[in-house]
Symmetry: C2
Subunit: 202 residues, 2 copies
Amino acid sequence: MSLKERKVAEKKEEIIRMAIHVLSEKGYHGTTMEEIATNLLMTKGTVYYYFKDKQELLYHSQIMLLNRSLQQIQEVKQQQIPVEEKLKKSIIAHIEYLLEERSGFELMLKPEQIFSSEQLAVIFKLRDTYGEFFDQMITEGIEENVFHAADVKVVRNIILGAMNWVTQWYKEDGQKSRKELAEDIAVYLQRILIKQEENKWK
Amino acid sequence: MSLKERKVAEKKEEIIRMAIHVLSEKGYHGTTMEEIATNLLMTKGTVYYYFKDKQELLYHSQIMLLNRSLQQIQEVKQQQIPVEEKLKKSIIAHIEYLLEERSGFELMLKPEQIFSSEQLAVIFKLRDTYGEFFDQMITEGIEENVFHAADVKVVRNIILGAMNWVTQWYKEDGQKSRKELAEDIAVYLQRILIKQEENKWK
DNA sequence: TAGAAAATTAACTTGACAGTAAAAATAGGA
DNA sequence: TCCTATTTTTACTGTCAAGTTAATTTTCTA
């Protein structure tokens, strides 16, 4: 029983991964169920055996991506390091993950066009939880007087925007590795918040 | 003759504007020519009379948006003000325009999925020109020693990303007006580059 | 190893939408 | 007012992809 269930789950995951892959290249409407299936050497019917319809498949793709992101940031959060370090690590982790999946994320842009309101509720909840992690870090930094006071929500979204935009312009051409890029961006974004060294001399 | 031509041009523009509007809500594949037409109280056939096909219509939508952006930033560029002010004004203008059209821009995200390579070349050229304005300001600021040295390309894209992301999260609910929001974001983004006041006291 | 349950396929239906073409309406000048 | 250009509509075709269904194959178990 559990074995069989695991097999089904595995298959589902396989399909979801491919869906993420294809969807990211062609967008929701540009992707056909047939194409997803063919890429996995199966037929459309099989995909429909595991997923009710295209929407549901895409929905699960989003959930998987979001959950993995959440897991990552949760790990960072638990570490016993200064808050500015946490923020930096979170930014780096986010960008690296984004570039790895360079993709699925891109269809997160207009979910209202696609999902049912129940599905949207779940997606937005997860997104929000993710965003709140950043809020917490920012607030913490402000309270500890490491960061400038700021409109937390605005700053959070500046950071998210700058990070998520990376897929739009970064080319994997060797100029800068993903890691280097992520670190650079983290440093620049930190500047928005961190109080300068100079203050310590006053 | 010229009068007739102007009439045609006006009609085309009317269609383009509606196309931008509908496309922005539903995305490229989610938008039908019929819908664009119906919204303008005309029939699909009329739209095809003015535009060869859907792709061409969308293409012209993009060009219009980009050209208007360019015009705006060019105006800012010509002003005789300090470079950090120029940057700030450019950011504010960009965000305000973005929120006004809250829309058409969103389909700029994956143009490769839609346009022919000739069309793409034009679009990318315009985009690039736009980006270069920011590069110039950043470089200028660094040379004048007003800004920190930085990887210009990375910083430019952080700024663009943070700005363009606004459509994803800003709600027109009165908490903050567009103008206030734009100004706040400009201030935060400036911090990435501007050398702090404190330096003057060293 | 028989036979049921699960998984897969092939062939089909359906609907939607891009694009077309010819007819109809509207204008504007002679 | 008639005639020609332009503009608009109507009704159509063709295609493509989502989703279905029944038949077939595979897998598992008693």
